[in-house]
């Protein structure tokens, strides 16, 4: 498969100051292997767009500890106390975005849409300073599309073309992030032959996937544990 690269080579596509779209909801659907590579790298000043920052010391939480991050854009950071601390100490910028707005903004980033008017957030401080417009008597606020220099996402399987399927709710933000990164790197548990994934089963068509990396973690008891 010519999209398959070594996990360490994935870092060649990521540079200081990049905006990274990182899949996952909590730790589910998170590219743990790629995040380990990043945490062990000297890449700095990253802006990460992700629903949350993993957990303390896990997933994206590792990048906080290792100091790769400048800014985080997402919907929920409260449960990672490292993130809260880093923000309080001025070491991490945080931009809070409602979860649905985040998903939609990323979809627009991949869809040639510059911005959209949403009904979410009207009357909240998150709408402060945002343009408003009335359509059919209802007020909406303008949100801008989000794009990434690189998307790092997690899928269950890729075929050798790069078509992807996801594990249940681990699909979450991964499918939209696959469309919105200038470069898209998918971490997968398994690579199968072309034709093994049915056309009706494929969630992310191969056009969106530039590189594929094999997950070094294996699942035991429903959780990814480091492979031996």
């Amino acid at each position: 498969m010519n999209k398959l690269i070594d996990r360490s080579d994935a870092l060649n596509y990521i540079k200081d100051g990049d905006t990274l779209l990182v899949g996952g909801f909590g730790l589910s659907g998170t590219p743990l292997t790629l995040l380990d590579e990043l945490a062990n790298s000297n890449i700095r000043d990253l802006t990460v767009v992700s629903n949350n920052l993993g957990e303390v010391g896990k997933g994206l939480g590792k990048l906080l500890v290792s100091g790769n991050l400048k800014k985080a854009v997402g919907s929920y950071f409260t449960t990672n106390r490292d993130a809260v601390e880093a923000w309080k100490e001025g070491k991490l910028e945080i931009e809070l975005v409602p979860q649905g707005t985040l998903a939609e903004a990323i979809r627009c980033g991949g869809a040639g849409i510059g911005g959209f008017y949403t009904k979410t957030g009207i009357g909240t401080t998150l709408a402060d300073g945002k343009e408003q417009k009335v359509f059919d008597g209802e007020t909406y606020i303008l949100e801008q599309a989000i794009k990434g220099d690189v998307s790092i996402i997690k899928a269950l399987k890729a075929d050798t073309l790069g078509n992807l399927i996801y594990d249940h709710t681990a699909r979450n933000f991964n499918a939209v992030m696959a469309t919105a990164g200038e470069i898209v790197i998918a971490e997968v548990d398994e690579i199968v032959e072309v034709g093994d994934l049915h056309p009706l089963e494929i969630v992310t068509p191969h056009v969106y996937v530039d590189h594929v990396v094999l997950n070094k973690y294996v699942k035991k008891g429903g959780v990814y544990v480091e492979s031996i």
Partner: protein, 222 residues
């Protein structure tokens, strides 16, 4: 701290508000107890991380942490369940396709405006899907204690905590009473504990109508 029996009382009362066949999104905390009290009533649970048709917690050997609820707990899929990504999940939520959202709250004002995501003065670092649900669900039920830990009423004349949006809640279910919200203000529709009307007025400081109150304190299970 609310006792488990009071949490269950709130969950049971909210369960009565749900109807056969409804699409329901349950927030964290007390709302997650509701499925246990639905009896024969079939509702479809939506989880904003990408599932419609959420089933109960699996046995230990069937746990897959890639099949989880929005509270990040392992779940199962019911027959007829469907999976989708986050953007499609919020098409469902924001687009007005969820019949009922049952949410917790920090405050609710006398017209039903909700504050459920941020405390002023504290770091405001989490919003999740809360304000999407407030903006989009057809009916909003707030399930929470009447008073915060500091004793202050969560039902208030005017929000002092950041609003979750101009969309208002339909009803508020607490351990003591159930309130309905209309354009003209709050109406007490049911008393669920031994609390007196005077005490309820004293705690909340909100002028509520009470022309048609159901007294259900016999339901108390202490």
């Amino acid at each position: 701290m609310l006792s488990q029996s009071e949490r269950i009382k709130i969950a049971k009362r909210v369960a009565e508000e749900l109807s056969e066949g409804q699409i329901v999104n349950l927030g964290v905390g007390i709302p997650t107890l509701i499925p246990d009290f639905l009896g024969d009533k079939k509702v479809f649970l939506q989880s904003e991380n990408g599932l419609l048709g959420m089933g109960p917690t699996p046995d230990d050997e069937n746990v897959n942490m890639d099949l989880i609820s929005a509270s990040k707990k392992p779940i199962t899929m019911e027959k007829g369940a469907s999976l989708f990504d986050s953007s499609d999940s919020f098409v469902m939520i924001r687009g007005g396709h969820i019949d009922v959202a049952v949410l917790g709250a920090l405050q609710v004002d006398q017209y039903g405006e909700i504050a459920n995501w941020a405390v002023p003065g504290k770091s405001i670092l989490g919003v999740g899907g809360a304000i999407d649900l407030v903006a989009g669900a057809k009916r909003i039920i707030i399930a929470c204690t009447l008073q915060a830990k500091d004793g202050k009423s969560k039902l208030v004349k005017k929000l002092t905590f950041p609003s979750s949006g101009t969309r208002r809640a339909n009803i508020l279910v607490t351990e003591h009473a159930v309130f309905k919200f209309t354009n003209t203000g709050t109406e007490l529709i049911e008393i669920l504990s031994d609390i007196s009307m005077e005490k309820l007025k004293e705690i909340t400081g909100v002028e509520f109508g009470y022309d048609n109150v159901k007294i259900s304190s016999s339901k108390i299970t202490k």
